[in-house]
Amino acid sequence: MTFAQAVRAPQARRVPHRPHRQAVTHHRSARGATRAPRASWEIRSFLLASGVIVAGFLLVLLYLAQATAVSAAGYEAQRLAAQRDELRRQNALLIIETARLDSPARVEAEAQRLGLVRAATIRVVATEAVAATR
């Protein structure tokens, strides 16, 4: 078919070709299909790679955040341990001070300073006598 024939050809003659439009369309989509998967693969690869990079970045960030947190917690733990040790030391010093104040020698000296004297006699009640009266 020449170009003229084609121009002159009735519209209806093109109708039977309609189904072919499908074919044409199909043909077009087939051609597109050869290009689209490639593009899709590239996009997917790009997205995948980007995703991996982003995920990796996030993981690194997460790790850094964790490491920083652990490190900070370590410093805090160290500070608390030092505080605990200091409190224990202060406690030990207070216990020693208590022992010093409780020392019989100090109590005696303090009693003398206050003018207290030893009891000359101490009355003792025999347990047997008490038991006999009950």
Binding site: A67, V70, S71, A73, G74, Y75, A77, Q78, R89, A92, L93, I95, I96, E97, A99, R100, D102, S103, P104, A105, E108, T121, I122, V124, A126, T127
Partner: protein
């Protein structure tokens, strides 16, 4: 021409590049292989710190749990003179010295001289009292800093110093319990290897290997702080009153040999050991020997009774002296008593009577009993620096020695040995090894010390007879000044001459002592009081007995022992 030069330049450049690359590669290879270890260790040294973790030294407590010795970390003041500058960079050494000198009780010039000594870093004072350290810290002076150091503290001060001993600046226990139990008290140090940041803070994510320190064991003593305090107080008082050269007191529980108190004069303060003289460091209760004198008559008579050669009523005619080995041995002041029983020998403390009893017993048996009672050998008490005294071997005895030893001359004993011997009489005849540590307490729990019965020395009957005779000695005899109201007391006095270096006895100087136990029946304590060269001389036993009474009164009240007499 230009192309040739450029080509040459390129070649030279390439060659240079190649050579440099090779050199760098070689250097890199060197550091990766041969120099790796050195590099690694240098890097590790910068980051890692390897520390010895000191073990906490064990606490020493008395039998009631009162702390006698413990260790705390105290602040030591150090100075870095180069850092003593104000905000404008002016030197502040003089100002720092002037500021801290009054707090430290030091002259500013002395501190300034220390700062100017050229030392980059120096200790100004070590182990400061807490309030002193706090006052200095509050000043906020630059160039000063604090470092923690362990310090052994004794809350009761000088009380019990001779029993406890002390810990020197190197952390080693010396004398007493500290010296004897240094290994168990000290514990085992640990190690800590950690990575640190430039601010010397430990890195949480870094290397951390730790071998934990094993703290020292806590010791609970048999010593009772109240009794110990009474013993030291009374000893110090009597030594001062009598202007004595020294003295010692031992208080034992006769039932198991537990040491309730042990005092020695002169003494020292463990907080300032550096100021104490060598004599003060010696525990006279265990490290000093003396001729016991008449307190030993109880041993001689116990031996003779146990051997069955005399009874309490066996009598002899006293003429004021006894001749033995061709030498006369007199009573005190050569007093003549006439007919005398063995009980009276003890109650009157007759030397001639003791010689009579010893003659009945014989040298071999007296020697055997002296050893059986524990004389001549160390008691085995768990304290450092004990001595054993001297009882010469039988082969070296002269005939007269039987007589002199019968009343406690010619042999030497420690106060603890005499106390142990009297404890054997008091408890029914068994000699116990004295001990000071009642129990050890560690992570595994409490490990109690089992009393050690060394041997039976005399029979129960003999012991009971001796208790009666010694009680009579206090009630009606020479030791009457030791009688206590409400309690039965058994005991014997002793006045002994002091041998000099030339083998003779020193004129007009004596060792006065009293050994006794209370109550006489079911006794709670044996007390031995020894005074060296009291000014009362021959009457020195009286202050010794008064000291016994004071200690016994306090201890019996404290222990709430019910009187056994109206």
């Amino acid at each position: 021409m230009t192309a040739t030069i450029s080509h040459m330049r390129l070649r030279v450049l390439f060659a240079l590049f190649t050579v440099v690359s090779l050199l760098l590669s070689a250097r890199l290879a060197y550091w990766q292989t041969v120099g790796r270890g050195d590099l690694l260790s240098r890097a590790t040294d910068q980051v890692h710190s390897d520390l010895v973790v000191a073990a906490q030294r064990g606490v020493i407590r008395d039998r009631t749990g009162a702390i006698l010795a413990t260790t705390v970390q105290l602040r030591s003041l150090y100075a870095i003179p180069a850092q003593m500058k104000d905000a404008q960079g002016n030197d502040t050494r003089s100002a720092v010295a002037a500021a801290i000198a009054p707090i430290l009780g030091e002259r500013p010039e002395v501190l300034r001289a220390a700062f100017d000594s050229g030392a980059e870093w120096l200790f100004v004072r070590r182990r400061l009292p807490e309030e002193t350290a706090a006052r200095i810290a509050a000043l906020g002076q630059s160039g000063l800093g604090f470092e923690m150091e362990p310090k052994r503290l004794y809350p009761s001060g000088a009380v019990g110093a001779q029993v406890l001993g002390f810990v020197n600046d190197d952390g080693l226990g010396q004398y007493g319990v500290e010296g004897r139990y240094d290994e168990v008290l000290a514990g085992t140090p640990g190690r800590l290897t950690v990575a640190r940041d430039p601010a010397n803070r430990e890195l949480a994510l870094g290397l951390r290997t730790a071998v934990p320190a094993k703290d020292g064991v806590d010791l609970w003593l048999t010593v009772d702080l109240a009794v110990q305090n009474a013993a030291e107080r009374e000893l110090a008082a009597v030594v001062e009153r009598e202007k004595a050269a020294g003295g010692a007191i031992v208080v034992l529980d006769p039932h198991d040999g537990a040491v309730l108190a042990m005092a020695s004069s002169p003494t020292y303060d463990p907080a300032s050991v550096g100021n104490a003289n060598a004599e003060a460091l010696r525990n006279r209760a265990i490290s000093w020997t003396y001729e016991p004198g008449s307190t030993l008559k109880a041993v001689t008579i116990a031996a003779a009774l146990d051997k069955g050669v005399v009874t309490p009523t066996t009598s002899y005619q006293d003429v004021g002296y006894a001749v033995i080995g061709g030498r006369p041995l007199c009573n005190a002041q050569c007093k003549v008593y006439g007919p005398t029983t063995v009980t009276q020998v003890l109650t009157r403390s007759q030397n001639a009577g003791a010689v009579f009893v010893a003659s009945k017993l014989g040298a071999a048996d007296l020697n055997a009993y002296l050893h059986a009672f524990g004389f001549g050998v160390r008691t085995g008490v768990d304290l450092a620096a004990e001595t054993g005294g001297i009882v010469r071997p039988l082969a070296e005895w002269y005939p007269v020695d039987l007589g002199t030893m019968s009343f406690g001359q010619g042999l030497s004993v420690t106060p603890l040995q005499l106390a142990s011997a009297y404890a054997a009489i008091a408890n029914g005849g068994t000699l116990y090894r004295p001990y000071v540590v009642a129990s050890r307490r560690d992570a595994d729990g409490e490990h109690r010390t089992a009393p050690v019965a060394v041997r039976r020395v005399i029979s129960e009957e003999t012991a009971a007879t001796m208790v009666t005779m010694l009680t009579t000695t206090v009630d009606n005899g020479i030791a009457n000044a030791a009688a206590l109201k409400g309690y039965s007391v058994a005991g014997k006095t002793g006045t002994a001459q002091i041998p000099s270096d030339d083998g003779r006895y020193i004129d007009d100087a004596y060792i006065s002592s009293f050994a006794g136990f209370v109550p006489a029946v079911d006794p709670r304590m044996v007390v031995v009081v020894v005074l060296e060269k009291p000014q009362s001389k021959l009457l020195g036993t009286v202050p010794a007995m008064n000291t016994f009474k004071a200690i016994a009164t306090d201890a019996l009240r404290y222990a709430r022992v019910q009187p056994d007499r109206p």
